[in-house]
Amino acid sequence: MLSIVFFAQTREIIGQGEFSLPFKPEFSSLEAIRSHLASTNDKWDLALTREKLIIAVNQEMSPWDTEIKDGDEVAFFPPVTGG
């Protein structure tokens, strides 16, 4: 099982903050997870536009070629604006 989490605009457009996604071998690729989620509906597609989307794997900002394993926490969010 993968734990999928969203924050800020991404969470707001999608309408939920987190959910579990059963792991499949093709989900070892972040782009496969992103496009799977984006295919849910138009809103999710908009929220998960690849440009300007930041990903954290197990709470660490990670590049798109990071390999995902069963049990990982994958977060999608816009560029950060704290401070």
């Binding site: 989490v5 924050f7 800020a8 605009q9 707001e12 954290a56 709470q59 660490e60 900002m61 977060a75 969010f77 816009p78 560029p79 950060v80 604006t81 704290g82 401070g83």
Partner: protein
């Protein structure tokens, strides 16, 4: 010390905490503190309220990591970083960074490094209430540029 909290913070008490540090029995010759406050304007709009969201767990992890990096790069004591979340008003304090060192240069540089990295790496997001409703704040290119000047080759 790293804290993410909804409550306000007392700059005077934090200063006493820094100079009372027992990590350095010789004391410190320089203490630099940075306080970030909520502006009442952004992109020519009046801002009447601000709401801050964060990624619990990852936030503390990132702040600890940048603290460790600062201590490796400069001869400083353990920094104090406090960031508020939740609903804030213009004029409220948002963020505090306190750095102590034997000499001013290291403390100034480490403090600037910490705020530059916090702004581009710690998972916080601001939402502002303007005249025409709520807006998520856009990340600024200038913040990325400020952070990139601290990049090292290792």
């Amino acid at each position: 010390m790293i804290k993410v909290q909804t409550e306000d913070f007392d700059i005077g008490a934090l200063y006493q905490q820094i100079i009372a540090s027992e990590n350095n029995p010789l004391g410190y010759g320089a203490v630099i503190t940075f306080v970030g406050k909520v502006r009442d304007f952004n992109q020519e709009q009046t801002v009447s309220a601000l709401s801050l969201e964060h990624y619990p767990g990852m936030t503390e992890k990132v702040l600890n990591e940048i603290s460790q990096q600062a201590m490796q790069r400069w001869p400083i004591a353990q920094p104090i970083i406090i960031h508020r979340v939740g609903d804030l008003q213009p004029g409220d304090q948002i963020v505090y960074i306190g750095v102590a060192s034997a000499h001013r240069k290291a403390a100034f540089e480490a403090c600037e490094f910490l705020i530059d990295y916090l702004k581009t790496k710690a998972p916080f997001w601001k939402k502002e209430k303007a005249d025409d409703g709520y807006h998520w704040v856009d990340a600024r290119e200038s913040d990325q540029e400020a952070a990139s000047k601290w990049a090292t080759n290792d």
